[in-house]
Amino acid sequence: MKISKFIALAALAALTFTACEKDTDPVEPVIGLKGALVLNNGNWGANDASMALYNPETKTVTGGVFFNASGRHLGDVGQDMLAYGEDIYIAVNNSQVIFITDRDLKVRMPLEVTKDGVRLSPRCFTTGGGKIYVTFYEGYLGEIDPASYNVRLTEVGPNPDGAAYAGGNIYVANSGGYLAPTYNNTVSVVSASSFRETATIEVNCNPAEMVASRDGRYVYVTSYGDFAAIPHKFQVIDTRTAAVSDLDYDNVIKIAMGKDDEMLVVTGDYDENWNVAGTIWKHDAGTNSSKGKFTESVISPFYSISADTATGYVFVGTSDYISNGDVLFFDASGKQIDKFDSQGLNPQKVLFFQ
């Protein structure tokens, strides 16, 4: 029992330091929602993923908004969230369900995807070409038709994590997280038209998050290494040549796409209490060039970063894993506007609705 607990712990560690970025289609006007919608990851095995809504005008936050609207819990490990058209997609990894809700967070349908009778565990979303893509940890990429909610699956590498849409292809980071300690070191290239893997690109060991530049020229990928001999890295794939090169940042732990092709890059360090302290940098994704610090603040204990491509707002989640997290709210210039309690454990992802 204890062994499984440790395995859960290790898996949790792999999971929680993972978020996904997407090449975002424009967000439709909000009907019901207004403000920052927070997805709390929760604790592995505790079915305590939850959502909160922050109102920037009144600077108040309401917890349990999914539960209140839909009359049920989200489930175990809220991993990713995406707004598309009138819908919100929520990937609940260990509950093996994708909730599709309306703008009032009422569930339109729980999407339970199976392959040969085996339930699949959704992980990260991306969008492009009028479709929604989702990675499944069992080794598949799914394509969801936003009109019919029909799902197609295609096989990719082991334990795919982040994904990004660029130039008619979906790039998938095959982490091999459940192949520790060897992991995997490939990115699958899946053609959107044939919906088949057409190539694999070798990257650093244990790739995780992916972000694409607006024009699709560059796909950025973080990787954790093997936590031993192979270091973690931040790399960029030139999609025209499939060439991979290393970027000059130390200890990149998270990335997110902001306004005007400006990518946010978080580098980690330890503070005096051994908490993870995050420093946030700006990187022009289109020209692949560094633009200095986003803010002088060093944020600890850093947990997650989300950005809104329309307003450039940046939301940084903090967590000690044993109490509710906080979300720090910055405007596009890097000025902190507010800080609020995420009303749940491990704030993983924030979507902003104007």
């Binding site: 029992m1 204890k2 062994i3 499984s4 440790f6 395995i7 712990l9 290790a10 949790l12 560690a13 792999a14 929680t16 330091f17 604790n43 095995g45 505790a46 079915n47 305590d48 939850s50 917890g63 349990g64 539960f67 009359g71 049920r72 819990h73 489930g75 609940v92 260990n94 509950s95 093996q96 369900v97 339970e112 085996v118 339930r119 940890y137 069992e138 080794g139 082991p158 334990n159 459940y178 192949l179 300690p181 954790y224 936590f227 031993a228 973690h232 200890n251 732990i253 980690g268 330890y270 051994w274 993870v276 204990p301 967590s319 000690d320 894993y321 044993i322 109490s323 509710n324 749940g344």
Partner: protein
């Protein structure tokens, strides 16, 4: 203690147990508990049989200050917590030999077989028994399990066969034979097999949706066997050899996950144990020597389809243990003892990065005790030295620790058995192999987790005309420093000494035993515990001064046994107040109070020449209220369930 043991043994072994003898044994127990300078609770096999307790977790539920972390089902992990220090602080002694787990510090008490047990006791914050292995002095408290040594009549054979059927496809045969082998030697062999489908139904509430579900992958099959050889060498002392074998396979159901149910983990265990214990007394001296070896093997698999290759891990722990204890009684009432233990632990695992650690631990305890009619005082100084080695990589540095403890008890009045007791104990737990070396999560620089206990109590005991009544009240102030917790780091978790916990609490108990009529004897007991146990690690944290997870402020239990010539009725209730399942006590993580009631009706028939045959029949109902509760969140407990026992003893 020896008087008590003898009395219980006699009362068990002699057919047609005279009432007086049972009263005497119960009285001796209560007396020992109320005289003890540190909280002590005890239950005998006979009491457990009449109450209907067939497992350690059932027996311990009615102890105050003790909680069982129960993951549900027959195969679910069950660990003992003393005053919520965490099970790794609980010392477990089985027939004087420490049972431990160097890998993760958790001992699953569901693996002990109660059918061959003579008594179970728990001591908290100290012990009056200073003639025992030094290692037992290192923990916050000790769960002491003592098996029955046979007392033969003229036939020289004691045999019993038992069959138990229970809900959810559970059957449990047990066989035992004990044989006298000449003047000085005797031997006993028993085997206990449990097989359970464990597929119990439970109710799952998810907001407005309530569903009836079945626990999956909760099956277990286990075989437990033990061979004992006892030698009575007269003036040459007593010797006991024990060999045991435990073999099991079980599913690990894991926590219930909303919207999906496909548990894929399984666990196999094979434990071999061998030990010998020798004791001898002459003039003012008593000596004891123990030698033991444990080989604990397990295999863990996970067929989760997300694993590109299924997980199939093997772990093997070995322990060798030598213990020497000497006690010297220089003058009336005085005893001085010294005990030296050497324990070697080793771990092999097929998992990546296992450094194959070996640890040598040296425990030395020097104790002194003075006991008079009114006064008992005990003081112990325990020294520990741990040395680590690894086959791969740097081992953790060595550790040294010195921890004192002292307790005293004083009878306040000449005429009445009202005593005041006080104890102080410093103890610690060494980091486990997982804490130190687990794949990248482990931290070699961990310090031992320290526990400080101060207990102040009153005990009262009275007996009159075949009745006895006792009451205890203990208040305590405890602190945990350098608590070992997993904390997140940049990419992976790591074990660190960061936690601080403060506890204030009290345990109250009252018990009565007496003959109410010619045809009716009653035993009744009640316990109540209050505990304010809060995290005081960081004043800035959101959980500062919040009740630690899974620690109820209030809990209690009650037992009622009615013994009548035609039938015995035993009733037990266990009630637990609200708890929080997270360090931060937010309403979302509050868990409702529950109470679990059990009822047993049983009778023992005696027949044959000189009543040498005994037939024991018992029918038990557990969780009568069919309460859907959880000890650990999302590990549901079974609802109402039944059990039938038939046992024949010759």
């Amino acid at each position: 203690m020896h008087l008590t043991a003898l009395l219980i043994a006699v009362s068990l072994a002699v057919p047609q147990t005279p009432d007086t003898l049972e009263v005497a044994s119960v009285t001796a127990e209560r007396n020992r508990a109320s005289v003890s300078a540190a909280p002590l609770q005890q239950v005998s096999a006979l009491q457990m049989e009449k109450t209907g307790a067939v497992s350690l977790q059932e027996a311990l539920r009615t102890f105050s200050g003790i909680s069982i972390r129960d993951y549900g089902g027959i195969g679910g992990l069950k660990t003992v917590n003393i005053r919520n220090f965490g099970s790794q602080h609980t010392g477990i002694s089985y027939d004087g030999v420490t049972v431990s787990n160097a890998q993760n510090g958790q001992v699953d008490i569901s693996r002990f077989n109660l059918d061959d047990i003579q008594s179970v006791s728990v001591e908290i914050a100290g012990s009056d028994d200073i003639f025992r292995s030094a290692r037992l002095a290192s923990s916050v408290g000790v769960l002491n399990i003592v098996s029955a040594k046979p007392l033969f009549d003229s036939t020289g054979t004691i045999a019993s066969a038992q069959m138990r059927f229970a809900s959810f496809g559970t059957f449990n045969p047990y066989l035992s034979i004990k044989q006298r082998l000449g003047e000085r030697w005797s031997a006993g062999l028993w085997a206990n097999y449990v097989n359970s489908r464990g597929d119990y139904p439970f109710t799952l509430h998810n907001g407005s949706v309530t569903t009836r579900e079945t626990r999956l992958n909760s099956d277990v099959a286990s075989l437990n066997t033990e061979l004992n050889v006892w030698g009575d060498l007269g003036k040459g002392g007593d010797i006991r050899f024990k060999l045991s074998w435990f073999d099991s396979e079980r599913g690990l159901p894991g926590s219930v996950i909303l919207y999906t149910q496909n548990p894929t983990e399984r666990l196999w265990d094979r434990d071999f144990k061998a030990n010998a214990l020798y004791s001898v007394s002459f003039s003012k001296w008593k000596l004891k020597a123990g030698l033991g070896y444990v080989n604990a093997w397990n295999r863990y698999t996970d067929a989760n389809p997300a694993y590109p290759e299924p997980v199939d891990d093997r772990y093997r722990q070995q322990e060798a243990d030598l213990s020497l204890t000497a006690l010297w009684a220089p003058a009336t009432g005085w005893e001085i003892s010294f005990s030296q233990d050497v324990v070697v632990n080793a771990l092999d695992a097929s998992t990546p990065y296992c450094p194959y650690p070996t640890r040598e631990t040296y425990y030395s305890a020097l104790s002194a005790k003075y006991r008079s009619d009114r006064f008992t005082a005990v003081a112990t100084l325990l020294g520990t030295i741990a040395r680590e080695q690894t086959k791969i990589g740097e081992p953790a540095p060595g550790r040294e620790n010195l921890s004192p403890s002292a307790s005293l008890s004083y009878r306040l009045l000449e005429s009445s058995d009202l005593r005041v007791r006080a104890s102080f104990k410093e103890s610690y737990r060494l980091p486990t192999f997982n804490d130190l070396y687990y794949q990248r999560v482990g931290n070699k620089n961990l310090n031992p987790e320290k526990a400080y206990q101060t207990n102040l109590g009153l005990t009262w005991f009275r007996q009159w005309n075949g009745h006895s009544l006792s009451a205890t009240c203990d208040g305590y102030w405890n602190n945990v420093r350098d608590k070992i917790v997993a904390v997140p780091t940049m990419f992976i978790w790591s074990m660190r000494n960061v936690g601080k916990v403060m506890m204030l609490g009290c345990d109250l108990s009252i018990s009565y035993n007496g003959k109410l009529a010619d045809w009716l004897r009653m035993r009744a007991g009640a316990n109540y515990s209050y505990q304010y146990a809060v995290d005081v690690t960081d004043p800035q944290a959101k959980n500062y001064r919040h009740q630690i997870a899974y620690t109820p402020r209030h809990c209690g239990s009650g037992t009622l046994v009615l013994e009548m010539p035609w039938i015995n009725v035993g009733y037990t209730v266990n009630a637990v107040g609200e708890r929080y399942t997270l360090a931060q006590n937010t309403p979302e993580y509050r868990t409702d109070p529950y109470s679990d009631h059990s009822l047993s009706i049983n009778r023992t028939f005696e027949f044959g020449r000189r009543h040498c045959w005994k037939l024991h029949l018992a029918a038990d109902v557990m969780n009568i209220g069919n309460v859907n509760y959880e000890v650990i969140k999302y590990y549901p407990m079974p609802g109402r369930n039944y059990r039938l026992t038939i046992k024949i003893t010759y």
